[in-house]
Amino acid sequence: MVSFAGLERSTLDGLVRPGHYGRAGATGLLIEERRDLAFASVTAKRGKRFALVNAVNTAFGVALPDGPRRATRGSVTFAGTGPDQWIASADGSEAAGFANKVRARIGPFAAVSDQSDARLVLRLSGPRVCDVLAKGVPVDLHAQAFKPGDIACTVVSYINTQIDMLDDAPTYQLAAPRSMAGSFWSWLTASAAEFGYDVIAP
C-alpha cells in the first residue's frame, strides 16, 4: 500500500504565515489553526439509537447530546450535527487512527466515516471575536442564546460551517470544508482586518 504520510500538510500552507495583520497596534482577533484534531462522522443505524447511546457511554464515557451541543470526556468530543448524527473528534494520543477506534467500539450501532482530512479547523478568540463573527455568522451568538458547549451547523459566506463555542472567554472553533479553506480564510481575514488580528503558529 502506498503511504501518503510524507504529503501531509495544511490546506493553508503557502497562504498563511504567523504574524500580525490588519489594523496596526491592535489585536481584536486571535486565529489558531488546529491541525492535530481527528474527526469521524457518526450516524446511528436505523433503530439503534439507544444501543448507540449506551455504547458511546461505555466506550468513551460521553453522554451523546440529543441536540446541537458538544460533550467532552478527556480528549474525545461528540457534537450533535443533526438528528441521529454526530461528529466525533479527538486530539492527543487518541487522534491516531481515531475513526478506526470509534468504528471498532460502536460499529454495530452506527455508520462511522473518517473526516479528519476533510476539514479546516480554526480556533478564534480575542476581544472582538464576536464582532468579526457577526459579519458572516447568521446564528445568534449572544451570550443568552449561544453558550459554551453549544454548536451550530450553518452557512458562513456561502460555506457550510460548524461553529462550536468552547468556553466563555469566549473561544469559538470553526470547521469548514477543506476545499473551501482559501475562500473561508478570505472572508475571515477581510472581516477581521479593521480590528487587527494575529495568526498564531500551529
Binding site: G67, P68, T81, G82, P83, Q85, P138, V139, A152, C153, T154, V155, N160
Partner: protein, 88 residues
Amino acid sequence: MRIPCPYCGPRGNDEFIYLGDATVRRPDPQALGASDAFYEYVYLRDNPSGLHQELWYHGGGCRSWLVVTRNTRTHEISDVTFAAGGKL
C-alpha cells in the same frame, strides 16, 4: 423568511432548499392507468391560496428533510416537523 427547524432552531430560508408539495405520493407503477397517474404526480400541482404543506431540506444546517406548513399568502409558518419517521 425564517424557518424554525426542530433541530437547529430558527434559520434564514437561504439555508434551505425548497422541494414543494409534501402531500403528493408516488403512484404504484404496476397499477392500471399508472401512466396517467405518473403524469399527474410529476407535473400537476395545485396552487393553493393559504395553508400549504411543503418539503424543505435543511442543507445548510442539520441536513434533514422537513415538512413545513406555510401560509402562501402571508408566509406565516404554523408547523414544522421532520419528514423522517412521519406519515409521509
